[in-house]
């Protein structure tokens, strides 16, 4: 089933390009790190320990590129593969951000919540694409 507006839910028509845009923006910001703010963020301490922030950014940028290519070529399987990896990356992000709570008292307990939310959103979209709802 092709990946186009006629073969996805109304929610997916909004969310599928949003994942690509979201990952793309995060990727660019993490690679460029304007004004070095990310490098100084306390909540990203564990994330920086896991791997350099620019690598996180590169991963998200590549995923964004794959998603955009899949949307252009209407390839459902390719988009699904990117979405699965995107989900794994954001859950990993949630874990490393939440881990920072134990290393730094200035880090909020909600540090990992963004990653959890994005992971759940990815799961919902994965199920929608898998079922091929139209």
């Amino acid at each position: 089933m092709p990946l186009d507006r006629d073969h996805v839910t109304i929610a997916s028509r909004l969310m599928l390009p949003t994942y690509a845009a979201f990952c793309g923006v995060y990727g660019i910001v993490f690679i460029l790190d304007p004004q070095g703010r990310l490098g100084r963020a306390a909540s990203l301490e564990a994330a920086r320990w896991a791997m350099d922030l620019w690598i996180w950014g590169a991963l998200w940028l590549v995923l964004a590129a794959v998603m955009l290519a899949a949307l252009r070529t209407h390839t459902r399987d390719r988009y699904l593969a990117a979405l699965y990896i995107c989900r794994a990356s954001w859950w990993a992000w949630a874990v490393v951000c939440e881990a920072a709570v134990f290393f730094n008292d200035d880090v909020t307990f909600l540090a990992g919540s963004l990653g959890v939310f994005v992971g759940i959103a990815c799961t919902a979209s994965i199920r929608s694409l898998r079922t091929g709802e139209a």
């Binding site: 896991a50 791997m51 350099d52 991963l59 699904l80 699965y84 990896i85 995107c86 794994a88 990993a92």
Partner: protein
């Protein structure tokens, strides 16, 4: 960036990508299992339908046999009737000839 950092980064990315692909594999297997279950249920429904059709077919064949016998019987009856009519006609002609012969020629001459 030193090599240890590069290795750590590479391993972390590989771990994330592998986890994602494992999720993809699991999703594919689940979808295939569901499709398999659906196809199995559909095949069972079709088997039931075929069994019902076979029962109906047997009934139709039995009725057809009965009807064929009836039709054949009627044809046989018709043939007999026709034969009787023929014999009756021939008998009547023979009777007329005999009557004429007794009475000494045609019209009782």
């Amino acid at each position: 960036m030193d090599w240890l950092n590069a290795l750590q980064g590479t391993l972390a990315v590989a771990l994330v990508v592998t986890t994602g692909l494992l999720g993809l594999q699991q999703g594919t297997v689940r979808t295939l299992r569901e499709s398999n279950g659906d196809l199995r249920a559909r095949r069972e429904d079709q088997d039931k339908y075929v069994a019902e059709v076979e029962v109906k077919l047997s009934k139709c064949e039995a009725e057809n046999e009965v009807l064929r016998t009836v039709v054949t019987g009627e044809a046989h009856l018709e043939a007999l009737t026709h034969q009787l009519d023929e014999h009756h006609r021939e008998s009547m002609e023979a009777l007329v000839e005999i009557k004429d012969a007794i009475q000494g020629g045609p019209h009782g001459a």
